[in-house]
Symmetry: C2
Subunit: 353 residues, 2 copies
Amino acid sequence: MRFNLLEIENPMSKDRTEISDIGEFGLIDLLNQKISIKNPSTLKGIGDDAAVIDAGEHVKVLTTDLLLEGVHFDLSYAPLQHVGFKAVAVNVSDIAAMNAIPKQITVSIALSNRFSVEAVEALYSGINAAATHYGIDVVGGDTTASRSGLLISITAIGEAKKEDIAYRSGAKLNDIICVTGDLGGALVGLQILEREKQVYLANPDMKPELEKYNYVTARQLKPDARMDIIHEFRDLGVVPTSMIDVSDGLASELFHIAKASSAGITIYEDKLPIDKQTYETAVELGLDPITCALNGGEDYELLFTIDQKDFAKLEKHPDIHFIGYISKPEEGKVMVTKSGTVVNLKAQGWKHF
Amino acid sequence: MRFNLLEIENPMSKDRTEISDIGEFGLIDLLNQKISIKNPSTLKGIGDDAAVIDAGEHVKVLTTDLLLEGVHFDLSYAPLQHVGFKAVAVNVSDIAAMNAIPKQITVSIALSNRFSVEAVEALYSGINAAATHYGIDVVGGDTTASRSGLLISITAIGEAKKEDIAYRSGAKLNDIICVTGDLGGALVGLQILEREKQVYLANPDMKPELEKYNYVTARQLKPDARMDIIHEFRDLGVVPTSMIDVSDGLASELFHIAKASSAGITIYEDKLPIDKQTYETAVELGLDPITCALNGGEDYELLFTIDQKDFAKLEKHPDIHFIGYISKPEEGKVMVTKSGTVVNLKAQGWKHF
């Protein structure tokens, strides 16, 4: 290509299609169509929680996330330490979702002159706390000025034996669908924080009463990637047949597994794990707790499938819930309600555009 | 950590130190002090062009760069294809500077609703062209909305044999200092583009005359990482004793090598490679061409040192220039001018803060 001013003028005006017309997933699909894989060391490119790269005896898994102030976090209620911790945790969660162990991260930040050195130190204290918590090394990054706000871009590398990697595509008929922890809390916590922010903005003298919402707000502000579960899989000799982390909501993640595995999904409403505080707060807010559990994002729990032969190994686990099974693709993606009705699941992830 | 509203209020107000007070390098130094390496697979963390990670027989090298509209590029003269190509090239240049071969990248973008689908496609056509040019696979990424402008975060992974990696720290006494291509062009090109932008803003009917500046503007808008040199090193059996890419300016990069290698630097003014158009345009702009060559950034050439025994292998290379030698640390970092005067070098990199 040669420098040519004709190319430059109004690069964003002609035959304009808005990104909102095709949506974030539509845009990603469009861009991915043009990508081809050339290197034999690329075992898995786009399309899972992380890429998989050959590294001799082991494989490396690679994932990246971008967090923007005003889009992914709000510093009026999220302390910078927590933002730093969460930025690492969401990447570790993607590594966990491949059944791999995180080893290294790079951390790039862009920030405006609104931020002081002390603010950056607070952010990094959270990043370093997470690195210590997950046993990761911070090995690189980039620091730059931005015109507005704070941006954090983290890339994480993990490691696993090739045969331990859990793709989204491995779920088989009659595998048991499992989810860790509980669901919907991060969404409900976000609603509370947004509500209390409005109260505070209307009357700065009023101290928000957040104590009774401590669990749900913590789910939103400081999620913990489920590396504990990955280490237990190793100890118990379990390799999930498929796995994904719950970042966009359970229903959306179930759709990803169904699509990648060419499978049907049957889950049971009464098996969905919902914490008492999540449930009660959802009701207080006028939200349906089941909808929160199905469509709330950012719980960073693990959704996975296991072969029935592995059920006995996990059956007594206090924090793994068996919510359904893999059915034939023609049976669709359904939920059996408490009353026994079969309803179609809808994938409604977070939309940033 | 527990959610606590007291931590939240005005996280950016008390005992405030401005980032501009300590500078970008000061900030990076401060943050890096708190980082410790825990994993044996981390062979090199922060402090070189890329991190080095053990991968059995080979090592993986990892680097990341963040490019922001309004800070690193200006869409009023930089076509989106070129921005995409350059975003990949600057990362490949860091991989090259480790004497490694790039294999995979992740691409994260944040963009405001000012950008159409067609604009994103133009950006990706440049990214994909670069991926093809350098033989890299795009293996992942993240796409999100931003409140203002375009941001691109790319992470690149490369591969090399452990013994082929060229760190900044390996320069030895009497090694020959070499640089590829020519210097200062990207800075001079930027000055021209900024000047023509002002002309255009003052009178949009006037077509900027850019043809006579085609080389320097291309140096700014579409740099090419010097992978050709890395492949030639392989063919010739040369491993540089140290290497870095010229992103912040020759003098700044020489300082990095001197510091990492505990070495002195002697270079010769009359050996600095400066293109005729760069020279003439600098003079036209009232800039000293030598200062442009020493302190201009973004040339993305390779600066490296070789053992004298390897000189014969590279001596006839048309695009490698021998600009000086490694001296004792107590001899300082100096340039011998055309008149024979010895002057101290000053490292004046780009400052984004």
